[in-house]
Symmetry: C2
Subunit: 254 residues, 2 copies
Amino acid sequence: MTVSEADYNNMDAGARQGDDARGPGRRLHGAIAHKLGTAILSGKYAPGEILSGEVAFAEELQVSRSAYREAIQVLSAKGLVASRPKAGTRVLPRDRWNLLDPEVLGWAFAGEPDIEFVRSLFELRAIVEPAAARLAALRRDKGDLKSMKDALAAMRRHTLTTEAGRAADRDFHKAILQATRNDALLVLSASIGAAVNWTTQFKQRARALPRNPIPDHVRVYDAIAAGDAAAAAEAMNVLVDLALEDTRSSMTQS
Amino acid sequence: MTVSEADYNNMDAGARQGDDARGPGRRLHGAIAHKLGTAILSGKYAPGEILSGEVAFAEELQVSRSAYREAIQVLSAKGLVASRPKAGTRVLPRDRWNLLDPEVLGWAFAGEPDIEFVRSLFELRAIVEPAAARLAALRRDKGDLKSMKDALAAMRRHTLTTEAGRAADRDFHKAILQATRNDALLVLSASIGAAVNWTTQFKQRARALPRNPIPDHVRVYDAIAAGDAAAAAEAMNVLVDLALEDTRSSMTQS
DNA sequence: CGAGCCAATATGTCGGAGTAAATAGGGAGA
DNA sequence: TCTCCCTATTTACTCCGACATATTGGCTCG
């Protein structure tokens, strides 16, 4: 009983939209994990603190122990907590948290985002994306260029004020990552893309964008299409710098 | 007894911490997650494939459904699988996998490691670590330098042939990441550290190390201590390049 | 100050009721 | 007759709560 490739892809596309878009639309243990995850990320539970016993918590949340335990397994898998018999379930130190997990990233931005953490994220982006653009310029094929071109067109149609526009922006960056032929870099795309999405939302919240982002993106595309590695890296560098600048000013302003 | 005792003992990797992290004994659901995780990473279950029902699998492994479900929650949290009522739990496409999760990384290297993936990892390392060294040279304080110095001393005492030596190597790189004052970069340390640990094990398996790694590390340390950003980045660059070269040759040779 | 017991707490198990969704079957319209 | 939509069934995950076990921090005793 083999599932055809087409069937599988269709299924996945539909399912992705379903469970990515909605936060509480998940199952019960997912909702509990979300609740506890945001609580931990926001500092409501400090590292080293012990979550009151299994049964106590389950009763407090009005759910069964099974649901609570499954939620704990999720948090444990992401390195947020660890539980041992007799010792209880305690929050792990921050450097054990898997902050690049897209879900954890979402929890981190659920409340008031830590501006220092945002700075760290952009610093990482400023390191990874120019290097990725350099590799993309060397390895891209026609398919990659088409993906980027399509994403750019979508960015022009919608603007960054719409979700569709931000999705196009993410698609553009993802296409670049894909062109690097590097799985490890590609995985970072999900994390960084999610983070960028949150921060661009903040930009929008503060005020209308003061700058048209399209020309900067086009410069990156042109350099990659031309196969000019140095120019691609440099163009991506200014793109990230400008994004950081925008985010910083809008955050300090609010 | 379908779950062998050996499955319980494969813990740790890059988990060691200066904190109160005592040797954690594996639990049943952890063992099952490990079993299924390695099976998926090794390609035994292809993306899109459906894992035969909850009850069937639980019976096959001679464990309760609860234990199996908790294992599935772990895999689901790492993006390896997704389960929906009636549809069953199916393996997600590779680009949804959280490959930078230290545990997933461990599963990926449990069997025969994909050489293309190793190349990707080192490419990422070649991007991140020199940039990290550059930042570390600008921001390090006395405490950071002491951590690096201690790690270097430990590397000299033990060699890379011992687990203690490899731990010291990881500590050295982690100290650099810590000196960048960047949480996002620091989190990568766990992933990259784990990966490096696995690959250095492979290097050892193939043959004795042809080169003394200490001088290269010392050059990095000196540049960071001197606050010379460019020199630190360059020194780290050659360090990573040499490591990649060693790994590549030992893998193609075997 | 160490060895050993004890109880608190997480871990593992079981079976059943609930719920969502894919598929098949039947009915209405063209 | 063919196509489409709608409903019913069936299947598998989801959630529950009680019970049994294992582990271990902390206490007591020597």
